[in-house]
């Protein structure tokens, strides 16, 4: 058997793939957080709960409506995105004129309510969600078996991340958004309905989280705590990457996932903490984060 650094190659590549998958979720979630933070100046603590709602929406669409995985991949983000818009229009908009910390506290409270409600009705043991038939099975690459669904998750995440990047950086809509982030009153003076842009941005960020949730549903069991497990690590990812750059959020997310996967091979006990250790090193050397802008 092929050995790399004294580790069997299939094990190494297997963990690397798992790392990439985790990284894909880190990237999508931190991307959403960064986009929302850029426009609303709010750290969305409910992001993990909305990610979880995305997975539950897919599960419910199948269980109650018989709607399969691929339609759910579109419908669930639309539903949850609409829910996000509702939250923004009724509650979150009240935070814009207050200290940033209140936005954090409000969204933290929302996360508790959402997760608590789901735990009440669905328990915390988790519900199964089948991998769609076309994506079942694995293919032999010679050096390892590649489960097709996992490859699909990484590919889908990459496409969505770079589509988001392209929309924000390369289209007129993205230019308006970035301008509104820099100087909202001026953009408003040019006739752009800035509050609506803010609402749609929040909806978009939430939809991204829900999309990640649907992707996650067949891998992790659909349970009310699934967002919780991710979101703390995602905050560390955001601190490491800095929230200034879209591309930075994507790269940091994938990179840290890979680092985590590799740590699992060489020192399994440390794999849960390695992201935080990286955060400590980054804070000591470049407190603004790898891609952070100067204040």
């Amino acid at each position: 058997m092929l050995m790399i650094f004294g580790v069997p190659a299939p094990l190494l590549f297997g963990q690397l793939l798992l790392g990439l998958i985790n990284g894909a979720f880190y990237a999508m979630l931190s991307l959403g957080l960064a986009v929302i933070f850029g426009m609303l100046n709010i750290i969305n603590f409910a992001h993990g709960a909305l990610f979880m709602m995305g997975a539950f929406a897919a599960w419910m669409l199948l269980a109650y409506g018989g709607i399969g995985y691929f339609p759910a991949l579109i419908i669930a983000p639309l539903i949850i995105g609409a829910f996000g818009i509702l939250l923004e229009r009724t509650l979150i908009y009240r935070m814009y004129k207050l200290d940033h910390l209140y936005g954090l506290l409000l969204t933290f409270g929302l996360a508790l309510v959402i997760e608590g409600l789901f735990r009440n009705y669905y328990g915390s043991s988790g519900l199964p969600y089948q991998i769609p038939q076309v994506l079942e099975g694995a293919t032999n690459l010679g050096f390892m078996f590649l489960p097709i669904y996992r490859a699909w998750v990484v590919a889908a995440a990459l496409v969505v991340c770079f589509a988001t990047w392209a929309i924000l950086e390369k289209t007129p809509l993205g230019a308006t958004l970035r301008a509104a982030t820099e100087n909202a009153p001026l953009v408003q003076a040019f006739g752009v309905d800035v509050p609506r842009v803010i609402t749609l941005t929040f909806g978009g960020g939430v939809a991204l989280a829900a999309f990640a949730g649907v992707l996650a549903a067949p891998i992790y069991s659909v349970n009310p705590n699934m967002g919780d497990n991710f979101i703390n690590t995602v905050f560390a990812v955001v601190v490491i990457g800095g929230m200034g750059s879209i591309l930075g959020a994507i790269l940091t997310g994938f990179g840290l996932g890979v680092i985590e996967g590799l740590t699992k091979v060489f020192w399994p006990q440390a794999s849960a903490t390695v992201v935080f250790v990286v955060m400590v090193i980054v804070l000591l050397t470049m407190p603004r984060g790898l891609f952070g802008k100067r204040a």
Binding site: R94, G109, A272
Partner: protein, 310 residues
């Protein structure tokens, strides 16, 4: 000598009277839980209310203080007072390490960094053998205070907790009203200006953070001894969220708010415990209502209505 205003003196004396009378009326175990949470919330309030930095990782100090107190009293058979002090010292040392990193950023970054660092402490506690992992440290004996007073008597234990709480409460008040505390408030109001006046603001913030984490460790250690158990729950980030809720509900930056918040939150948990996850839902709803409707908290609103600083 503690910098109380006359209204605060009256409320403080009332508070002491209540602490003395209440164990004869209410269940002492419940009261001890309230006092431990209240001290924890007071310590947290020192950071958020007077330095303006919201920490989302205070469970790390509370929980580690509990672990060390429980471990030393169970395996080294130290006196309860020594164990509680060791819990406080643990909090202080951990606060130095985490604070040194966290104060490099402010605002929401500070909240995220403290959350992430505390999560690291949580994973550490999950892995290392000394915490007992998922089981925690169980059946911790209370022992005898100074080798004489049997603490297995709930009333004796209650007086120890009451003294720890009042001591911690007065210490915090003394800190806030010292010249050091004035500098902290100056930093909260306008950090660049405090810097321009020649204060090393980072040093002040770090010292405040260490004091706050020390008192959190003290509270955690006391709680572990009262209940004879130290578990992962106390280092989990939901505990950090709970102390934020307690302080917000009572009133950020008020003197008596954390105690009122702790009473309400603990009572609510007691009565809602049978309804499972409704506790979480209610806590979340209180967060939302507080932030939307009364950001000054219970004591803050009462103080504003009476035009008194409570």
């Amino acid at each position: 000598m503690f910098g109380f205003s006359s209204a605060q003196w009256k409320v403080f004396l009332l508070l002491v009277a209540l602490i003395i009378v209440s164990p004869y009326v209410l269940y002492p175990i419940f009261l001890m839980r309230v006092l431990c949470m209240a001290l924890f919330a007071c310590a947290f309030n020192l950071m958020v209310g007077y330095v303006g930095l919201l920490s989302f990782g205070h469970a790390a100090f509370f929980g580690m203080g509990g672990y060390v107190a429980a471990w030393t009293i169970k395996f080294w058979h130290v006196d309860a007072v020594v164990a509680i002090i060791l819990g406080g010292l643990t909090g202080a040392v951990l606060g130095l390490c985490l604070g040194y990193l966290a104060i490099r950023r402010s605002g929401i970054y500070f909240a995220m960094i403290t959350l992430a660092l505390a999560q690291m402490v949580y994973f550490f506690c999950l892995e290392v053998p000394f915490t007992g992992g998922e089981d925690g440290i169980q059946q911790v004996p209370r022992g005898h205070l100074f080798g004489v007073i049997n603490l297995n008597d709930d009333m004796a234990m209650y007086w120890v907790v009451a003294v720890v709480f009042i001591g911690g409460f007065l210490l915090i008040h003394r800190i806030i009203h010292s010249p050091f505390g004035q500098v902290l408030k100056a930093i909260r109001e306008n950090e660049p200006r405090a810097t321009s006046l020649g204060y090393r603001t980072d040093d002040y913030k770090l010292i405040a953070f260490i004091l706050s984490s020390m008192l959190s460790g003290l509270a955690g250690g006391t709680k572990a001894i009262v209940f004879g158990i130290a578990t992962l729950t106390d280092v989990h980030y939901s505990t950090s969220g709970e102390v934020v809720l307690t302080t917000l509900l009572g009133g950020l930056g008020t003197v008596f708010g954390p105690l009122v918040g702790a009473t309400v939150v603990t009572a609510m948990e007691n009565y809602l415990a049978q309804f499972g996850s409704w506790v979480t839902v209610t806590q979340g709803a209180i967060f939302v209502i507080c932030v939307l409707a009364f950001r000054r908290g219970i004591v803050g609103e009462i103080g504003a209505a009476l035009k008194l600083g409570l």
